[in-house]
């Protein structure tokens, strides 16, 4: 028997807008120089490490952290769960950076988890705090609450229709947020925008969360409405296909294999596939995309941000080669 599901007809979009959220709290211990100081290493760095490691080993067993040594001498306490990572980075840019990462939209429960971990550490460690400046941090841009919420939003439809510059301009009109490419780059790559809060002093943690949540909801709704238009209009679908061919030809013929161009191409391809505009297995018609992407990927330095972006787009290296 065929079951009629009315909600399926009214779904605003087939694909879900890809999002990644990262909540970070910066904390420093009182009476010790920050990691940016030239006196910090090795004596004070060791002191901070020992203090934090002792607290976690003695009192924080229920957090089930695994400990990893980073290349730059920082120490990472991390717990990986199904859809999220929670951890503490010791001796990074500040003595402690408490963070939570999730590949989905912003949730109050995540923010509460970060606060719970912060309160746990606070019971055993003396934080550098001033009643006027709040939590004292190495960078003046974090002082006050020490809270930053980073949102990675994949906005191919908006970028395609309005252009990246226009979109950045719209974001810049909002004083409470800062928008950039991934990892703070000036130019967005693969249509992934990083949105973060500008203010950390003179505002409460709740206000920051509410701003970011509001911005996220608004942008995602906008992106989904544009995706609807693109999916349902033949003209727009053709335009998108032509644009993709154009970029593909540029990469193949001119040997123009800059990171941004290849990643933008992959982003559009992925977006088209997810929205059902292009076939899943074939890539785009008329272009030999297999050789195209393979050539592109050979030149692509899959380090740092590129790797993160590909993971964010849900296209691991092996998968791209198989799919296209």
């Amino acid at each position: 028997m065929k079951v009629f599901l009315p909600w399926k007809r009214t779904l605003p979009s087939l694909g879900v807008v890809r999002e990644k959220t990262r909540i970070v709290l910066a904390r420093n211990l009182s009476g010790l120089p920050f990691p940016s100081s030239r006196f910090f290493r090795p004596v004070f760095a060791e002191e901070v490490r020992t203090k934090v490691a002792e607290v976690i080993a003695r009192e924080g067993k229920e957090w089930k952290f695994t400990c990893e040594e980073q290349r730059d001498g920082a120490l990472l306490f991390l717990r990986k769960e199904k859809h999220r990572k929670i951890g503490i980075l010791v001796n990074g840019e500040d003595h402690l950076r408490i963070f939570l990462e999730r590949m989905s939209s912003l949730r109050w429960a995540d923010f509460e988890s970060v606060q719970r971990l912060d309160r746990f550490l606070e019971r055993f460690l003396d934080y550098a705090f001033d009643p006027q400046w709040g939590y004292l941090t190495a960078s003046s841009q974090w002082m006050g609450t020490g809270l930053r919420i980073f949102l990675w939003l994949h906005l191919p439809a908006l970028s395609f229709v309005y252009g990246e510059q226009q979109l950045l301009q719209w974001f810049q009109e909002r004083p409470e947020i800062v928008v950039s490419g991934c990892g703070g780059a000036k130019e967005p790559v693969a249509h992934v925008f990083e949105v973060t809060n500008r203010y950390t002093l003179g505002v409460t943690e709740r206000e920051i969360f509410e701003w970011m949540s509001w911005i996220e909801r608004k942008v995602v709704r906008w992106e989904r409405s544009i995706r609807d238009v693109l999916r349902n209009s033949d003209l727009h679908r053709r335009t998108l296909l032509e644009k993709l061919r154009e970029v593909g030809k540029d990469i193949v013929q001119d040997g123009d294999t800059k990171d941004k161009k290849v990643l933008d191409f992959l982003s559009l391809l992925r977006f088209g596939q997810e929205e059902g505009i292009f076939a899943q297995g074939r890539g785009c018609n008329g272009v030999n995309t297999r050789s195209l992407v393979e050539r592109g990927l050979q030149a692509l330095p899959l380090r740092g941000m590129c790797e993160d972006i590909l993971e964010f787009l849900g296209v691991p290296l092996g998968r791209i080669r198989d799919d296209v």
Binding site: N28, Y127, F129, D130, L136, S140, G202, E205
Partner: protein, 159 residues
Amino acid sequence: MRCDFCGHHEAVVVVYLVEDGAGTQDKLFLCRKCMVHVSIARLIEQGLKEGRVRKERALNRKRRHCPFCLLPLRAFLEGGVLGCPYCYSAFAREITRWVQEGQAGNRHRGSVPWRYLRRQKIQRSLSQALRDFERCVAEERYEQAERLKKLIERLRSLL
């Protein structure tokens, strides 16, 4: 005399530098808070290397370095990076100016560490107990003064 480090509180300790040729100017004035946290040995060693003890006593004189971590003011103005918690009081004027342009307000409104609140509460109780103790001694109520003395010792041990 004001503290040479923070420039805010009254100095309670004077550190004299004993060295051949050291003048009377080579001494450091420290408040109760800075005396606990500041590494005087390192600072004096740094001062000796440069031929003098680095200090900025006059409050109205513009600071060029943080007296604790020796971070130059230029580094803060160029990169917005601070070297230690004392940089916040050393460069208070510059930070206030930056905050007016780049932040939503000039005072913290968010959460406060639990240990900080606890310390504040103990300090308030301690100062109240000290005042009561002095009054009791003046009024020759020695039994109550004895009880207050024990309370003061207990509060001091908690700090």
